[in-house]
């Protein structure tokens, strides 16, 4: 509650500088867009649409197939994935600041990220948990003096001030016209930054043979840069539940090359199989898809599939062995689903869901925020 008392003071002081149209009820929670992950995937890979580089090599020298069978690698055989990262946030529209003809929405958000560690017995424990309080406003929509005043106020109260008008890769997918609409993307970008800081902190501490799964894509800087350093593959993968639906894949070469839409690619992907790995970002990242659940139980072929990303420092095709192992270990994570609690249950990994839950439980409830935040 201390964090909120600082914010309350900021709002009161700020209200003396500008005119404020408060949100109904003091604060209105911004709803998360369910397709944002997909939009994000589209935005960060906007340069590439056709993926024609198969970026793996079979150690036995056999020719590669489009789909490779993998069998679950369970914790009891080899405890491969031990760390799980996810982030979450709650964002609120607090009101509109009016300064002469200028106006800017004011948002408050709590963002958090958590890494869970899975013990030998399968139980999870918190490894790192960070929560930040941020205040968002449009710098270009306010006068310089008012923005400076806002900077001073937030600095003294332990809040992070974020400029809604600053360009970034996530909120870039949303138009600049309505800053209030853009705030969701901006908060999400801040959450991504927090997640990256956790991965960066965790990387040197990862025990040998223990891998970390991060929810979502790895293609964010400075994360990707870190993962590509020193030439060896870092034990971190990014797993996405929702991914873009517009890429095309080319498998094979010459006249026999097969061109597939993602629908076609995944419709042919059976349970217990993975696709071959493709390259993105000029080989810096390789990615593939793994089907966790049988299609007969799903509503359409894209359900029950996760997209896996691995940073590839060598920028050369890597051994199928490591991709198979990662896929096998992922397949063993399919049991226990958040069915009934999350619409993306079919592609959700339970420890990731728990990490998200851990963050959510650490954030203040909407009722608390609404009751606590007053402009006067």
């Amino acid at each position: 509650m201390n964090s909120l008392s600082g914010l309350r003071q900021v709002l009161r002081d700020f209200a003396t500088e500008v005119e404020v149209l408060p949100a109904v009820g003091g604060a209105v929670e911004d709803l998360e867009r369910p397709d944002f992950e997909e939009k994000e995937d589209q935005a960060i890979n906007s340069q590439e649409k056709i993926f024609n580089s198969v970026f793996e090599k079979d150690p036995t020298g056999e020719s590669l197939q489009l789909y490779r069978q993998v069998s679950p690698l369970r914790r009891s055989e080899e405890h491969f994935f031990r760390f799980f990262l996810d982030g979450s946030f709650r964002s609120y529209f607090l009101g509109t600041a009016l300064e002469n003809e200028r106006e800017s929405p004011i948002h408050f958000a709590q963002i958090g990220a958590c890494i869970l560690k899975r013990e030998d017995n399968g139980l999870v424990k918190k490894e790192i948990l960070k929560v930040e309080n941020i205040l968002l406003a449009g710098k270009q929509r306010l006068s310089e003096s008012v923005w400076r005043r806002l900077e001073e106020l937030t600095e003294t109260s332990g809040l992070k001030l974020v400029d809604l008008t600053e360009k970034d890769i996530v909120s870039g997918v949303l138009g600049d016209f309505d800053l209030r609409n853009k705030a969701g993307g901006k908060v999400r970008f801040e959450m991504r930054k927090l997640e990256i800081s956790l991965i960066t902190e965790m990387l040197p501490k990862l025990p040998e043979g223990s891998w970390l799964i991060a929810d979502g894509s790895l293609i964010f800087e400075p994360l990707l840069g870190n993962l590509l350093k020193e030439g060896t593959i870092k034990p971190v993968i990014g797993v996405s539940k929702n991914f873009r639906k517009d890429p095309q894949f080319v498998f094979g070469k010459g006249p026999r090359a097969e061109r597939l839409s993602i629908f076609k690619l995944l419709a042919g992907l059976n349970s217990g199989f993975r696709t071959t790995a493709f390259s993105a970002q000029e080989g810096k990242v390789i990615f593939w898809y793994v089907r966790l659940r049988e299609q007969k139980y799903m509503d359409y072929p894209l359900m029950g599939v996760v997209k896996v990303e691995l940073a590839n420092p060598s920028r050369e095709p890597i051994s199928s062995e490591i991709i198979d192992k990662i896929s096998s270990a992922l397949l063993a994570e399919k049991e226990v689903t958040p069915h009934g609690q999350d619409t993306r249950w079919h592609a959700h990994l339970y420890p990731i869901f728990l990490a998200e839950r851990m963050v959510k439980e650490s954030l203040l409830r909407r009722e608390v925020i609404q009751q606590y935040l007053k402009w006067r």
Binding site: R74, R118, G122, E335, T337, Q341
Partner: protein, 566 residues
């Protein structure tokens, strides 16, 4: 307190939610992984206080395990759509939540326990504080059993003698399924505990009725093979000595074969200090109401005739036996049944007596003949031998520190009712009568404990009035002030008159069926406790005592006397 707490592990944290808030009567706590807690464990939760902290004690009533699966279907789907052999890499998140009823707070703060407060198992002192035992001065403490908690902590449960033997409260009622509830063993153990620990224990007399087999006919003998070491340990933990009764007198019924073989009508003959008792008409004429207690008498015709007989056989001045006038020749059961004034041998007809018509007299004779002649066990005799005692007179001689065992196991139901009623009436008269003074008064024990099994026979719930019920109610309702204490046992408490159980300051429950526990007499129990009572193991009992804030589960040692089959 804080230093003490540091030594004890935190087993969970209190939890209050929107749907399940903590209240001043109950709180919840989730359990740390691998902690084992069971119903009836006593725990303490950290609580605020004006200075420092206080402890709120609670007794665990139920435990729930819940997971984050909103439906069973979620679990089905999580197991790869119904695969039974899959072991998940990450087990589903779940927690066991214990629900605890508040017993007390050591600083009398009955605020609800706040969220996320540490919860620990209570230690022995804490258990005593929780139950209010710490408020009972040592001299009033009677060991009643042992609480054994899931973490191995043991605490002696003491009951307050002022609520066990009077004057604040009295009586014990023990209920439970036969064979599983160990009612007799517990009663005898509690009596032994009283005789070893109560104040003025040498001034407490005990009367025990043996109602089945020879169970209680060797209470002055040690077990042939001794007690196992673990039983010894239980005795010693309670600072009691495992020894049989010291001063026991056995009163055994006269039987049909006693004139021939000299043996009483008992399953077992005690090794020493036993006497036979019998009932002649002279011993019974003023107790015929008890003998005929089980006979329905809606118009009081039997009662009126018993009154006439009493008048005829009793000296109007002294109140003692002296048949007179028309009753002068009525000296035995035979002459009562077959002679005047009830019957005229010459005409072969029953006669009207007072206002009681001949037809009613005839019915009375049929009933009495069945009880004292045709279907009797042998305890009714024409003339009592010199060597046989009058039960009432023997009971009246009871001394402090003495235990009298009256065997009624082989008697018929009517005979058992007579004997039990005779004992109650004699004891009640001893303590309630104003005429006893001086030396006689001094010799009387200060307290008399009467133990009887199958109490429902004598004070059934369904019947409203009968001479034996009146007698039991007299003791139940006035015994605590007189010093007469009833230890009653039965299979079903619902079958016992509610004024008897209602007056028991201590109720002990062994395993009971759920149908029985649904009876209104168990409404004092929390529904969760009821469910636990139906699961009790042999030798486990739940005790509810006037000074305890909640019933607790106890175990007790095997009594240190020779029991049949052991």
């Amino acid at each position: 307190m804080e230093n003490e707490n540091k030594d004890r592990k935190i087993i969970g944290l209190s939890s209050a939610t929107a749907n399940q808030p903590n209240t001043s009567d109950s709180f919840h706590f989730w359990l740390a992984t691998e902690e084992i807690v069971n119903p009836f464990d006593i725990v303490e939760a950290e609580q605020i206080a004006p200075e420092g902290k206080s402890r709120t004690f609670g007794i665990v009533t139920t435990l729930d395990h819940s997971t984050d699966a909103p439906t069973h279907l979620s679990n089905f789907i999580s197991n790869d759509f119904g695969q039974v052999t899959t072991e998940p890499n990450t087990p589903r998140q779940g927690t066991t939540v214990a629900h605890a009823g508040v017993l007390s707070n050591d600083k009398d703060i009955y605020m609800p326990v706040m969220n996320d407060k540490p919860v620990r198992f209570a230690d022995e002192l804490g258990i005593h504080t929780a139950l209010g035992i710490d408020q009972v001065p040592d001299r009033f403490r009677i060991p009643a059993g042992l609480i054994e908690m899931s973490n191995g902590t043991r605490a002696v449960v003491y009951i307050d003698s002022r609520y066990l033997l009077g004057p604040e409260g009295a009586h014990v009622n023990i209920t439970g399924i036969s064979g599983l509830a160990t009612k007799t063993s517990y009663s005898v153990f509690l009596i032994q505990s009283i005789l070893q620990k109560a104040e003025n224990r040498d001034k407490i007399g005990v009367i025990i009725l043996n109602v089945k087999h020879g169970d209680l006919l060797s209470i002055d003998q040690p077990p042939t093979t001794g007690l196992p070491p673990e039983e010894h340990e239980l005795w010693e933990t309670m600072e009691l000595i495992p020894k049989p009764f010291d001063n026991v007198k056995y009163l055994l019924p006269y039987g049909k074969n006693t004139p021939q073989d000299g043996r009483p009508n008992s399953f077992r003959i005690p090794s020493r200090n036993w006497f036979t008792y019998a009932y002649s008409l002279e011993d019974t004429y003023n107790k015929l109401d008890l003998l005929l207690s089980n006979i329905p008498d809606p118009w009081d015709t039997v009662g009126a005739l018993i009154g006439e007989i009493n008048q005829g056989l009793m000296d109007p001045k002294t109140g003692l036996w002296r048949p007179h006038d028309r009753w002068a020749s009525t000296l035995s059961w035979k002459t009562l049944l077959n002679g005047p004034p009830l019957f005229e041998p010459q005409s072969g007809q029953a006669q009207q007596v007072g206002d009681v018509k001949a037809v009613s007299v005839s019915r009375f004779r049929r009933l009495l003949r069945r009880i004292v002649e045709t279907r009797q066990s042998g305890v009714f005799v024409e003339q009592r031998r010199r060597s046989d005692c009058n039960l009432s007179q023997e009971i009246a001689k009871i001394k402090g520190g003495e235990a009298i065992v009256v065997d009624i196991a082989k008697l018929t139901d009517d005979e058992q009712t007579l004997v039990f009623g005779d004992i109650l009436r004699t004891i009640y008269a001893l303590y309630a009568a104003e005429g006893i003074e001086g030396a006689e008064q001094d010799e009387l024990p200060q307290k008399v404990i009467i133990f009887v099994d199958e109490l429902n026979k004598y004070a059934p719930a369904r019947e409203k009035e009968s001479p034996i019920i009146e007698q039991v109610l007299d003791i139940a309702e006035r015994g605590r002030s007189l010093g007469v204490v009833l230890f009653g046992a039965e299979q079903f408490m619902s079958a016992v008159h509610e004024r008897v159980t209602g007056n028991s300051a201590t109720i002990v429950m062994g395993r009971s069926g759920s149908a029985e526990l649904s009876s209104p007499v168990y409404r004092f129990l929390d529904p969760a406790i009821k469910a636990n009572v139906s699961r009790l193991q042999k030798g486990e009992l739940v005790i509810s005592h006037a000074t305890f804030r909640q019933p607790v589960k106890i175990k007790f040692p095997r009594p240190a006397y020779l029991q049949e089959g052991i």
